[in-house]
Amino acid sequence: MSVKLPRRALFAATALLTAPATPRAQTNARLLIIGGGFGGASAASFARRHYPDTQVTLVEPNRRFVTCPYGNLLLGGERQISQITHSYDGLRARGARILHDRAIGIDAAAKRVRLQGGEVLAYDRLILSPGIAIRWGAIEGYDQAAADIMPHAWIPGDGTQNLLLRRQLEAMPDGGVVGLAIPANPFRCPPGPYERISMIAHYLKKHKPRSKILALDAKETFSKQGLFQDGWRALYGEMVEWVPNNRDGKVVKVDPREKILETEFGTRHKVDVANVIPPQSAGTIAIEAGLANNTGWVPVNTRSFEAHAAQGIHVIGDANIPGPMPKSGYIAHSTAKQAVASAMASLRGEAPPEAIYFNTCYSHVGTDYGISIVGVFRPNADGTAIAEVPNSGGASPRGDLPDQRRLEAIYADAWYEAITKSMFG
């Protein structure tokens, strides 16, 4: 002790003189990331590229990642599962430690996370990107067993749910009815259900043209609505029937055995294939750690993404309440970087950097027919609010614009390739 103390003091003095902006905490800081999706993988890649001294550990149960984006193209017959499945090898090669395990408990005070496999991981800063959980039972009768008959295909996992829905579409006779139940806001990927309708129609038009899509919606308006409805009419005629909430569109009960979707006022729609996109919440570990409020989502500082309920835990991706920002892959990717930079700044005793968040969501409506919505968002100085930049962003123009649609379909594919390479490379 008597020898070590002066040496440590000397080390501290030297460190201060030679590197005033770099206290010890920055070097070899332990950044733990839970969840290997658009938020978590992006955070790991960004941290390894820009903070190379940081020890990055990523905990993700799945050995390979199946993306939600482009899952609808699998339903449309335009992609195979292998084309939307990604390996973590690129992140490993960057020096991130990847643990295929499930985080089951967070001790925010002790800064420790417990894994299902028994390991306990200590961290200096935690990035939590747990995605969503399904609120089983929020629709009466819709439990895990029901999802094996009426797939949600909204959390890909290993792809089982997407492939099940695809097989059901393939097995359906021509002239059948595909029913969708679509939730109220907020939920993962606001344009997703409507791209799904489009891609199912794309498949049916080609292979089962007498079939019908019945979309039962708990909302009265939706993302890129005019653009989607223009596209449905132009490409699929009368195939798509969309029923909003004010025309009894809200599904409140399902009967998986009879394939019935029942709405609020008791209309029982018998369908041949049922895709139930149920109400959602933040991922289970965020709920169990007490980070969510009564909405089921996690309120965060909009500049650092630190959870209001716990210091040192930055919650990103679909699990947080991002003000006007959508629960999208691009927002998860964009805010992941800000969360990492804020975590690193915090370890140096600095404030989070200034921030601009960027989103583009493309949707495929049909062959050579893409549409998009853009958003540029800024948080205020103290991270209590966030606003979209006025007169920026917005949806693709409406009208008969074949070149615009064709280019946006190409750009959508470019986005998928670019963002997945950025996340996993």
Partner: protein, 99 residues
């Protein structure tokens, strides 16, 4: 007091070399938003133009022309309208330095 002052001067003397490569986290993150469609480091992907190493002034002028609708864009006008002149300059500088 003398030593810190000298060290500070030494740091300043080094600054031009180091700052040529370093960007603020805010600029890095703002510029990397482009890579979500234009590929890692802006190297381009099928359908997403390569922008890495473009001339800084040309890139800035292009973004400003998209912003004002002088240059017609499928999507870039909607994006560019989210950024002010200083941000466009910083982003252009960052992308111009990518190789």
């Amino acid at each position: 007091m003398l030593r810190p002052v000298l060290l500070g001067l030494a740091f300043l003397a080094l600054a031009p070399n180091t700052q040529a490569q370093a960007s603020s986290p805010a600029t890095t993150i703002a510029a990397e938003a482009c890579f979500g469609c234009h590929g890692p480091a802006g190297q381009g992907v099928t359908g997403g133009a390569a922008i890495a190493g473009m001339d800084r002034a040309e890139l800035s002028a292009t973004l400003i022309a998209f912003r004002s609708n002088e240059r017609p864009g499928t999507i870039m006008g909607r994006i560019a309208r989210g950024y002010n002149d200083a941000e466009i300059a910083a982003i252009s500088d960052y992308i111009a330095r990518q190789r």
